[in-house]
Symmetry: C2
């Protein structure tokens, strides 16, 4: 791994950085495969919207791209992570006036994780987490740096056979996985949990929703509980690195990798290769 902090090689960030002090910032995790920064324009758009939500200046997108390319240095497979924090600030929640601080921009490169191909073709095993997702419409959807809930949920199991844990909000609505968004199929309709109260609005989730609408697949975004999930015929999760992983088992229930899931996987993989919103390494 290697990092650029505001364009300079770095291994550390100031102890006064508000990202450390308060989680006052945002991040993006971007798949680099076959020499493409997949869905680059969707990622920087989400980052820009997140900066608006947190009332922070958004970093220059051409600068981010140039820095990602510098780090990639012709690598065709990798992970690029972007972090933007509000910058250095004094003690206290109040953000310094913008004249006195500027956001810190961290671009990092990591090795491509190389997930087993079988996760996509044969599906994974998942569980339910007991750590709830807090409800806060103001921060819902935003990929911000306050991620203790996900850390706590991911710490609930230590079994390499279990690849993901599903999280419910405090009312028991199933919202997402610890690192992924959730979809399920019932009676031919594709369902995905509403994210207006909590959760991260994933890039691949948005891609799937766009693909489903374009293909006239019946779609329902709503609030679902375990009973709804139990009644599903197909289940899958998505994120920018994994793409789509079907669930072949959730707790004690088994699911098949069904036709709609296979259709979505093919469409997402085509979009990863062909989407006009990518950038090259």
């Amino acid at each position: 791994m290697q990092h650029l902090l505001n364009g300079d090689n770095a291994t550390a960030v100031g102890l006064q950085d508000r990202g450390l002090q308060y989680g006052d910032g945002l991040f993006e995790t971007i798949a680099v495969r076959a020499g493409r920064l997949e869905f680059w324009h969707r990622h920087v758009k989400r980052l820009r919207l997140g900066c608006q939500r947190l009332d922070m200046a958004a970093p220059d997108e051409q600068l981010l791209l140039a820095e990602a390319r510098r780090l990639l240095h012709d690598r065709s497979e990798a992970v690029i992570k972007l972090i933007v924090t509000r910058g250095e600030g004094g003690r206290g929640y109040r953000a310094p006036e913008s004249a006195h601080t500027s956001p810190n921009r961290i671009v990092s490169v990591y090795d491509w994780p190389g997930y087993p191909a079988g996760n996509e073709t044969g599906g994974i095993v998942a569980r339910y987490c007991t750590t709830p997702l807090g409800i806060n419409p103001l921060l819902a959807g935003v990929k911000h740096l306050n991620r203790l809930e996900q850390v706590m949920a991911r710490s609930e199991w230590d079994d390499k056979e279990i690849h993901e844990g599903l999280m419910a909000d405090v009312h028991g609505h199933i919202v997402e996985g610890t690192m992924s968004n959730l979809f399920f199929v019932r009676d031919g309709t594709l369902h995905s949990p509403d994210l207006s109260n909590c959760g991260v609005a994933g890039i691949v989730r948005d891609v799937i929703l766009d693909l489903a609408r374009a293909a006239n697949i019946p779609l329902e975004i709503g609030r679902f509980n375990r009973g709804d999930i139990n009644g599903a015929e197909e289940l899958f999760v998505s994120n920018s690195l994994i793409g789509v992983w079907p669930l072949r088992q959730l707790e004690q229930r088994h699911y098949r990798v069904g036709p709609l899931t296979r259709q979505i996987i093919a469409a997402v993989n085509a979009a990863r290769r062909n989407d006009a919103g990518h950038e090259t390494v």
Copy 2:
């Protein structure tokens, strides 16, 4: 300001630190006045309990104290901030096995803020914030590093005459201030919001609850809405640095600095000077 990172003078922390990446850690803010680290033992106890809740190794308390003293260097008035993060970790929410990482311990010294004495004697002006507090019983009470809600709430106003903003949870229950806990008096009973769903269990709040019980002051911990607050005869907020500040105005309503508030202020100030759980500089 000056910092020690794991005992060494430092200005920066690794970019892989999970405090930055996920807000995966805890903090304490400790008043140093008249040569005393006020309520030191309460602070380190809360830190220890927080580490248990997050399943992190707690730092050695004698080490923390020695490092705070090194930074204070005979200063009799200052602020000591402790931050403990889960340490460095790879990309991904899963915490590294404890054999592969160790928590990072940051001890910082800041100047004493020197609040106007009138805040305590005459009271302050406060407002209601619109940023809600998310509900998550698992993290409620813990002074963790996921503090975006407080940052957002504190950014709602930029008026030096307004010293604090009160925050409600998503159900409209008034929980606390952005940087303080809330108390109010009605019909001779001291009230303070329940913190089992959200909020920070403040050290001075605990001191006040102990003092109230010892003095047989009628006490009610519960869920209260704006109507309850509107019916209050006295209102005040507390934290480790400010001690107790009465509210003389909340939005358009005016309050007096009443007898129970004055009694609590005197008792808290006596405890700050005399509490057996302090340490000397």
